[in-house]
C-alpha cells in the first residue's frame, strides 16, 4: 500500500508541478513552496496568443487520428491473414514485423527523410502521418494477430451455420468481437503519434505545420536569454489532460471487453 502511494506520488508529481507552475508568473515561478504567491491563467492565454498553438493542437489531433485510422484499416486484414490463413513464410513474416518495430527511430530517419522529400510530403501533415505509421503499424499488426489467434474459431463456424456470409460475418461477428482489441491498440497508436517528437521535428519546418511536442519544445520567450517556463508548463497541461481523459474513458471499455465470454466457463 505504501509502495503504491510512493509510486503514485512519483508518477504524478511532475504533472502536479507542471499544473502549479503553469498558473504562476514572473518571480513566483521560482518559489520553493507549493501554495504561496499569486495564481493566474495568463500563461494559458499567452501560449495561444504568442504562437499558433491552437493550430498545433489541431495538427496533432489530425495526425494522430489519421495514424489510428490508417493503422487499424491496414492492420486488421493483415492480422487476419497472419492469424487465420495458413501460408508459407507466415512465421518469418511475423518475426520481421516485430523486428521492424525494434528499429531505433534515428536509424530510419535519413532514409525516411529522402523518401518524404521525394514524394513532396516535406513539411506537410500527410508526410508526418506516413512517418508515424512506421512506428504504429508493426505493433498494431502484432497485437491484433495475437488477438485473432485467440478468438474462438467455433463462433465463426456457428455464424456460418446460421447462414452468415462474408460481409455479415465481418460486420456483425468479427468487428464487434474485435472492438476491445481495436480500442486498445488504437489508443496506443494514438498515444505514440501524439507524443512523437523526432519525426515531427525533422519532417516539418514552419510553425503552422508543427505538432504539439515540437511546438512546446520550440516555444521561445521575449529574448534568447529567457525561457518561458510558465507558458511551456501551460502548454504541457493543455495537451496532457485530454489524453489522460481518453485513457480513462477507454480503459473501462477495454477491461470490460476483454473478459468477453463467448465460450466455456
Amino acid at each position: 500500500m505504501l509502495a503504491l502511494v510512493l509510486l503514485a506520488a512519483f508518477a504524478l508529481f511532475p504533472l502536479f508541478y507542471a499544473m502549479l507552475t503553469s498558473l504562476r508568473g514572473g518571480a513566483d515561478l521560482f518559489r520553493p513552496d507549493l501554495l504561496g504567491g499569486s495564481f493566474s491563467w495568463s500563461n494559458y492565454v499567452d501560449v495561444f496568443r504568442d504562437q499558433p498553438f491552437g493550430r498545433n493542437i489541431l495538427n496533432s489531433v489530425g495526425v494522430a487520428t489519421a495514424v489510428v485510422a490508417v493503422s487499424l484499416v491496414l492492420a486488421l486484414p493483415a492480422a487476419w491473414a497472419l492469424g487465420r490463413v495458413p501460408f508459407r513464410g507466415r512465421a518469418v513474416l511475423l518475426v520481421t514485423v516485430l523486428m521492424v518495430s525494434m528499429f531505433p527511430q534515428v536509424a530510419v530517419l535519413s532514409g525516411l527523410f529522402e523518401l518524404i522529400r521525394f514524394f513532396g510530403l516535406y513539411d506537410t501533415l500527410p508526410g508526418l502521418t506516413v512517418a508515424n505509421l512506421v512506428l504504429t503499424l508493426p505493433f498494431t499488426v502484432w497485437v491484433l494477430t495475437t488477438f485473432i489467434r485467440e478468438m474462438p474459431q467455433e463462433v465463426e463456424e456457428a455464424a456460418r451455420m446460421d447462414g452468415a456470409r462474408m460481409p455479415t460475418l465481418v460486420w456483425r461477428i468479427f468487428l464487434p468481437m474485435m472492438m476491445p482489441a481495436m480500442a486498445s491498440t488504437g489508443l496506443l497508436a494514438f498515444l505514440v503519434a501524439w507524443n512523437e517528437f523526432l519525426f515531427a521535428l525533422t519532417f516539418t519546418l514552419s510553425a503552422d505545420s508543427r505538432t504539439v511536442p515540437v511546438a512546446i519544445a520550440l516555444l521561445s520567450g521575449a529574448s534568447t536569454q529567457e525561457l518561458p517556463w510558465g507558458q511551456i508548463m501551460a502548454a504541457s497541461v493543455v495537451v496532457t489532460l485530454p489524453v489522460v481523459a481518453l485513457v480513462i474513458v477507454f480503459q473501462r471499455r477495454i477491461v470490460s471487453g476483454l473478459s468477453a465470454g463467448a465460450v466455456k466457463g
Binding site: E154, E157, A158, M161, D162, S259, G261, A262, V263, K264
Partner: protein, 363 residues
C-alpha cells in the same frame, strides 16, 4: 425432418486420411450417435455433414438432395458446439434470433419463434443477458435454443455436454432426450461418453481410425459387438480379454479351455479348428461371486480389491492367462491374497479370432 445420406464420404488433410470411405443412411427423425476414441474422426465426420469442412470424396445428401457443394448455411442444419460458441457481444435474445435474420423472416414471426424457444428451454428471464453473465449450463441451453429456433432439417451436436460438470451433464442429457422426443427431428450427435451414447441413441455408430467399426442399437452394440475393438470400447468397464484354446465343437457351440484350466462352451456357430488359439471376452459385470445353474466356475487368487461405492472391482489372478476384473455388487468378505471362485454364463462370453473379428453366434 430429414434423412441424411453419406455415400463414399472420405476426408484427407494433405496426405493424412482422417475419414475413409463411409456409407451411412440416417433415417428421418432418427437419433444417431457417433462414438469412438479421440482422433477417430467422429467430429470431422460431423463437420463434413455440416459443411464446415469440404469432403475429399463422396456425396452427402439431405432428403435426397445433394448438398455436398452447398455452404453450411444453406443445408438447413443447425449445430451445437462443444464450446457453445455464443456471440459474446449479443444478448441471449439476439444470439437466438441471429439465424432467423439470415432466413429473412418477418419480424413478428421472428419474435414469436424466439419467445417459443425461450419458453421451451426456460430462458425467458435471461433474454436480455450477455453470454458472459450466464453459467455454463445456461450457455449450453442458449446454444441449443439457437439451433432449435431455426427449425432445422437436422441437428448436429458436437460433444455438447463435455464442458459441463457431472451433475449438470446428466440433467442436460435428459433434456436433450426429451427434446428429441418432442421435436422428432433427425439428430446427429458426437460424443466420447458411453453413457450419452447408450442412453440417447436410436443407433450408435462406432468409429475407429476413420472407419465404421459397427452400426447398431445400443443393445446390439453392447450384447453383440462386431469385433474386439467395439467390445473393448463400449461398456463402462473394459471387457476382459483372455487367451483360450479350442478343444472341440458341437451343436451347442465351441468348447474352449482357459489358461487356468476351466472349460467354457461358447454358443458360436462358426466352424473353428480344434487347437486354434482364440480370445474370449467377458465383461466385468458378467462375473459373479455366487454360483447358479449352468454357470462355469473360475478359481483364482484375489490380487486387489477396489471399492467404488455401489460395487467392488475385484482383480483375480490365476484363473485365466491374465488378471481378470470382476464387478461384484455388495460387500465381499475375502481379503486380497485369498482364494476366490467366480462364476460366469457361457452365453455372455464372446469369441474373437486373430484379426479381432467376433465369431458368429448360434441364433
Amino acid at each position: 425432418m430429414a434423412t441424411v445420406e453419406l455415400a463414399g464420404v472420405g476426408k484427407r488433410f494433405g496426405r493424412h486420411t482422417v475419414i475413409e470411405s463411409i456409407d451411412l443412411v440416417i433415417g428421418d427423425g432418427e437419433f444417431v450417435v457417433f462414438v469412438g476414441p479421440s482422433g477417430c474422426g467422429k467430429s470431422t465426420l460431423l463437420r463434413l455433414v455440416a459443411g464446415l469442412e469440404p469432403v475429399s470424396v463422396g456425396t452427402i445428401s439431405i432428403d435426397g438432395e445433394d448438398v455436398t457443394a452447398l455452404p453450411p448455411g444453406e443445408r438447413g442444419l443447425a449445430m451445437v458446439f462443444q464450446s457453445y460458441a455464443l456471440y459474446p457481444h449479443m444478448t441471449v435474445e439476439r444470439n437466438i434470433a441471429f439465424g432467423l435474420h439470415r432466413q429473412r423472416l418477418k419480424r413478428s414471426e421472428r419474435s414469436r419463434r424466439v419467445r417459443e424457444t425461450a419458453r421451451l428451454l426456460g430462458l425467458e428471464p435471461l433474454l436480455e443477458r450477455l453470454p458472459r453473465e450466464l453459467s455454463g449450463g445456461q450457455r449450453q441451453r442458449v446454444a441449443i435454443g439457437r439451433a432449435i429456433v431455426r427449425e432445422p432439417r437436422a441437428f448436429l451436436f458436437d460433444e455438447p455436454l463435455s464442458n459441463l460438470d457431472a451433475a449438470l451433464r446428466a440433467q442436460m442429457r435428459l433434456e436433450i432426450a426429451r427434446l428429441h422426443e418432442r421435436l422428432r427431428t433427425t439428430m446427429l450427435y458426437v460424443t466420447h461418453d458411453q453413457i450419452e451414447a447408450m442412453t440417447l441413441a436410436d443407433r450408435i455408430v462406432v468409429l475407429d481410425q476413420g472407419r465404421i467399426e459397427q452400426i447398431g442399437t445400443p443393445d446390439d452394440i453392447y450384447a453383440r459387438p462386431a469385433n474386439r475393438f467395439v467390445a473393448g470400447f463400449i461398456g463402462s468397464m473394459r471387457m476382459n480379454f483372455l487367451p483360450v484354446r479350442v478343444v472341440d465343437q458341437g451343436s451347442d457351440g465351441v468348447r474352449v479351455r482357459l489358461a487356468g484350466g476351466a472349460f467354457v462352451t461358447v454358443p458360436v456357430s462358426e466352424a473353428v479348428a480344434a487347437g486354434a488359439e482364440l480370445t474370449l471376452g467377458i465383461r466385468p459385470e458378467h462375473l459373479h461371486a455366487q454360483g447358479f445353474e449352468d454357470a462355469v466356475a473360475l478359481d483364482g487368487r484375489i490380487e486387489r480389491i477396489e471399492a467404488i461405492g455401489e460395487a467392488q472391482l475385484v482383480y483375480l489372478e490365476g484363473a485365466a492367462g491374465s488378471a481378470l476384473c470382476a464387478r461384484l455388487a455388495g460387500t465381499l468378505h475375502e481379503k486380497p491374497g485369498g482364494p476366490l471362485r467366480l462364476w460366469l454364463r457361457s452365453d455372455q462370453c464372446h469369441l474373437f479370432d486373430d484379426d479381432g473379428r467376433t465369431l458368429a453366434r448360434l441364433s
